[in-house]
Symmetry: C2
Subunit: 197 residues, 2 copies
DNA sequence: AACGATACGGAATTGACGTTCCGTTTGTCA
DNA sequence: TGACAAACGGAACGTCAATTCCGTATCGTT
């Protein structure tokens, strides 16, 4: 790791970095991995060279975007911890995470694929586990969430809703129906039998 | 459409066509769209030219495979109609469809993506709707399945479980937990409120 | 067995990107 | 304002994978 305090970026460089990130966000959210570096550059109003100055490879750019998404999911979780009712907090965070997943094709490709580990910095991952674990525990303690749910189930569930949501039905809100069904299945009162181990 | 009765394929051609299909099945199930035509040819023990003789483009090959998957999902639905209990039939078909989706990376990429319409021949699609519609109606009539579920919800649900299942947890059976939760949410008795329209 | 018609193999072609390179421009600091 | 480092733009390059092409081999028929 470089412990060097590198001098601050030049003003134009900082501005361009932001532009590239913003353009990439849009391009990759729209077209997933098929988005092209040239396209990102064009949207950002810079040359490809500039994109590469800031992100050495396409992969690095995608990872930066993914990290940003994970941070938003974490933020949604933190916010949900403020909710007065544990059940509302937990389900709200789940929905928010699903929505964040659904609205970004690149991100949903990443979390939807089994290929390799997810590109999340370790500390961020840990925080995610902490926050979502706490949300879960509270809802379970309150007797609202089925007690046989474990933390490891969360990503799969969130991802399941999120990916399903990407299928554009006639009604863009159709995914909320899916989510509502799943959430009913998560209620302590809805459990018909213990989950398989 | 060609209404011409084209003469039957030569014996070697028929054999090779099967080989290609089988090899492609494996290759695409494993590596999704990243599988290469050369790789398919190698696995089939034929030259690339032969692959192209039978399937004019990569896309055509993928579509043939997808159609086959849809047919299997249809077959699973038909089989489920035999089940004595409507609920078991319905949920069994759902699980079978999810499993078929999960076990084929290429197929799950297709159904998981919103890009364009799914490559299903119209009549096959209609049969799918018929069979799954019937399964659904029976379970609803029996009072077992929540009555506010509609046919359009099925693909999203099946796909949600299937895609989630592709995420290899430590435990490869983890997706069954996800499915069990969702299925609990589908019970007439589990509905906490009508689904959003 | 001989002769088309079919089908085959795989080298060569093509096109599409990711990435690199380098001459030019711009910001910063004295 | 002049000098220099930092950053830029975008043409050019290299790679990789889909697709084409055509000389050769095989099948089915007479």
């Amino acid at each position: 790791m470089d412990t060097l305090a590198r001098r601050p970026l030049r003003a134009d460089a900082r501005r361009n970095r932001e532009r590239v990130l913003k353009a990439a966000q849009v391009a990759f959210a729209e077209r997933g991995h098929d988005a092209q570096m040239d396209d990102v550059a064009r949207r950002a109003g810079v040359g490809v060279g500039t994109v590469y100055r800031h992100f050495p490879t396409k992969e690095a750019l995608v990872e930066a975007l993914a990290t940003d998404r994970f941070e938003r999911i974490l933020a949604a979780g933190r916010e949900a911890l403020e909710a007065p009712d544990p059940w509302d907090g937990f389900t709200g965070a789940l929905m928010a995470g699903a929505e964040l997943t659904a609205s970004d094709r690149s991100f949903s490709e990443i979390v939807g694929e089994l290929t390799g580990p997810m590109p999340v910095p370790e500390p961020l991952l840990k925080e995610l586990y902490d926050v979502y674990g706490e949300l879960m525990r509270r809802a379970q303690t309150a007797g609202q969430l089925r007690s046989d749910l474990v933390l490891d189930d969360i990503p799969m569930i969130m991802c399941g809703i999120g990916i399903g949501a990407r299928k554009t039905h006639e009604c863009p809100q159709a995914w909320r129906r899916h989510a509502a069904i799943l959430i009913d299945g998560l209620r302590a009162s809805g459990a018909s039998a213990p989950l398989p181990s």
